[in-house]
């Protein structure tokens, strides 16, 4: 495998973890978060600091997961207090605050970011395998969650909190759980990203990234794990495969987001489903 293939597969793996984890929050549990980049970033920074300090991969992974989920649970608590349309704006705010704060902190490297993150020692292909294994585990976990009673309760909370309460389902605990799990996974992705690039700057975690991730979830079909995985893989490869897409990346992503919502709100998953339904009828 060439170094290029290794790096693209690594990025795909990281994007899959990010998109699937966002899907748990926004797809399964219906809590629209437009600040996923902040949790990803928190994980990356924590892992980078841990790696620089201890050079221990497990510790760095743990640091990433903890940082992502701590920030996520804080935001989750906020989500308990505010209406859903406030939540979308608040999460955008969290992303801007994260970037605006880290930018000015010299202990986080400020504008310079954190460099000289020690290598994991697995080599590029070892890193890729680790990323792929964790991405697969994330997908399997997501599939399991959607089949479990937790996924069932998430759907109820996402659709109607009050109705869920009348079935004995406390929306608050589930929303916190969704944020906690989703952002822990984003933090994990952040740690993997820090291993992959070996240096990080805050610009990599900006709001546009959060929009891209939301685009993956929506285009894949909100709530559908496989659809979201497909979209994450497809949208990462698309600019690589098609020159035009590469030059007009934002135009294409923005356009797809608009068109998918406008014409096929169920995303890829629903399109494929309809296709099957039609051929079966025919």
């Amino acid at each position: 495998m060439s170094a290029y293939t290794i790096s693209i597969v690594s990025i795909i793996g990281i994007n899959v973890i990010l998109a699937v984890s966002l899907n748990m929050i926004s797809g399964f549990c219906g809590q629209i978060s437009l600040g996923h980049g902040a949790f990803f970033g928190a994980g990356a920074y924590a892992a980078a600091l841990a790696m620089v300090a201890t050079a221990s991969v497990p510790l760095a992974l743990l640091a990433g997961v903890v940082a992502g989920s701590v920030l996520g649970i804080l935001v989750g608590f906020a989500s308990l207090r505010v209406r859903s349309d406030f939540l979308a704006v608040s999460t955008i705010g969290v992303n801007f605050l994260f970037v605006g704060f880290v930018r000015k902190q010299s202990w986080l490297g400020g504008e310079m970011g954190i460099s000289g993150i020690p290598p994991t020692g697995f080599g590029a292909s070892g890193n890729m395998i680790m990323i792929l294994l964790l991405a697969c585990a994330t997908v399997v976990f997501s599939l399991y969650v959607s089949r479990s009673w937790m996924g069932f309760a998430f759907r109820a909370v996402g659709e109607d909190e009050q109705a869920a309460a009348t079935l004995g389902i406390g929306a608050g605990a589930y929303k916190l759980a969704a944020f906690g799990i989703g952002t822990a996974l984003a933090g994990l992705a952040g740690a993997l990203y820090a291993f992959f690039t070996q240096f990080i700057t805050v610009d990599a975690f900006d709001f546009i990234l959060s929009v891209m991730l939301m685009a993956m979830v929506v285009i894949g079909g909100i709530g559908s794990t496989w659809g979201v995985v497909a979209a994450a893989v497809g949208l990462t490869l698309l600019p690589e495969a098609i020159r035009f897409v590469n030059d007009y990346r934002l135009l294409v992503f923005g356009g797809m987001l608009v068109l998918v919502i406008r014409l096929a709100p169920g995303g890829l998953a629903a399109l494929v489903h309809n296709l099957f339904a039609r051929t079966r009828k025919a």
Binding site: Y4, S7, G113, D203, S224, A269
Partner: protein, 394 residues
């Protein structure tokens, strides 16, 4: 929330996507081999840094055409392999691996910001690929190893040279500083603040702004209150233009000294009459009687529709230097090109002649200063005390 998945459809979507992925990967694997000498090129063609990326891309293309028109190198044509890195670290690693693995490139010019250069440098170093960073100013780039070269003054030395110029040449004592919040702006300002006391320059107050800011009302009001002898600002022309205009509009008449990336005709266009009397440190002398420079100017304007800025000139020079290295090494083997580049002496860049590289492969060269007079860049001397802004050694 919209339409829920069904298992079947989801599986189908998944397999479809992996199929698409395989096809895409397969097309990458089959890239044809060419006899030309390939030079890899990374630049931010999209995203917030696209302004500079575009100029760098045009300039690099011109350099390759000029080299080929003059017979190429080693009897072969030079071919530029360009990728967009969005000035982002992950994309830089991505495209670096692509250049190495898919295109078999051994020589690279990085025409991008520090974030890209820093991420790409270790990848190239490990693969034994020579890289010249055209204008990435972060120290980490050359520290990645001996295959790395830099064709621009590091941020901190630029800042130190600025302190020298302000203190000795302009003779100003009290300075307010305005820092742009990115690695380039911050590093350059750090160098200035460290060196300032040596030349009797006192920093009255420090302010900072973000790359996205075009409105500086609060900073302007504060500078007005500081009542300094001069203002030193780091930034790009698209932030510097509005900044200078607003400083002048508030009745601040003291000299304004801008950092290298102010260097663009667009700066004068934006700031209009307010641009008058602004000094730009490490700017290039456009009037120099140099055929190559004048030709570059006319041609670039024709292609881009605007005049070239420092970024364009430096990227052009970087590609030319790489070709020169190949000629002197009489080989396109990276090890030999590396040694030839390290031995560079008095190479003519568009900005003037560079002395050479130091042990860390940092460029050694005097710093030019321009003042804007009558709406034009006018030479205002050069800073030749190389020891005052010596870059770090190995």
């Amino acid at each position: 929330m919209l339409i829920r998945n069904r298992r079947l459809s989801a599986l189908a979507a998944g397999s479809l996507s992996s199929l698409a992925g395989l096809v895409v990967l397969a097309t990458f694997a089959a890239s044809p081999a060419r006899a030309d000498v390939k030079i890899g090129f990374q630049a931010p063609l999209t995203g917030p840094a696209a302004t500079d990326g575009k100029s760098a891309q045009i300039a690099a293309g011109m350099a390759v055409e000029d080299i080929n028109a003059a017979g190429g190198v080693l009897g072969q044509k030079v071919q530029l392999v360009t990728y967009d890195d969005q000035a982002k670290s992950d994309q830089a690693i991505f495209t670096a691996n692509k250049l190495i693995g898919e295109d078999g490139v051994k020589l690279v010019v990085n025409g991008s910001y520090s974030a890209s250069g820093r991420a790409a440098a270790p990848v190239f170093q490990k693969a034994g690929v020579v890289m010249i960073a055209a204008y990435g100013v972060h120290p980490d780039i050359t520290r990645a190893g001996d295959y790395m070269f830099r064709l621009v003054h590091l941020g901190p030395p630029q800042g130190a040279a600025t302190a020298l110029y302000i203190g000795k040449t302009l003779g100003l004592k009290k300075i307010s500083t305005i820092t742009m919040d990115n690695d380039y702006g911050q590093a350059t300002m750090d160098g200035f603040i460290e060196a300032a006391p040596k030349y009797g320059v006192e920093v009255v107050n420090k302010y900072s702004y973000s790359l996205k800011d075009r409105q500086f009302g609060s900073i302007v009001a504060s500078v007005k209150r500081d009542n300094p002898d001069g203002v030193y600002a780091t930034g790009y022309f698209f932030t510097g233009g509005p900044l200078v205009a607003q400083l002048r509009a508030a009745g601040i008449t003291v000299p304004i000294i801008g950092s290298q990336a102010f260097d663009s005709e667009k700066f004068i266009e934006i700031a209009g009459p307010a641009a008058e009397g602004t000094y730009i440190i490490d700017s290039f002398d456009r009037d120099r009687k140099d055929e190559a420079l004048q030709k570059f100017f006319t041609e670039f304007k024709q292609r881009a529709g605007y005049a070239p800025e420092g970024v364009a000139a430096i990227t052009y020079s970087a590609v030319r230097l790489m070709a020169d290295g190949i000629k002197r090494a009489n080989s396109a083997e990276p090890d030999k090109v590396r040694d030839a580049l390290a031995a560079t002496k008095d190479f003519p860049l568009l900005e003037g002649n560079m002395n050479g590289f130091n042990s860390l492969h940092e460029m050694i060269m005097p710093i030019q200063v321009n003042e804007i007079k009558g709406g034009k860049f006018t030479p205002a001397g050069s800073i030749t005390d190389l020891n005052a802004f010596a870059p770090p050694e190995k």
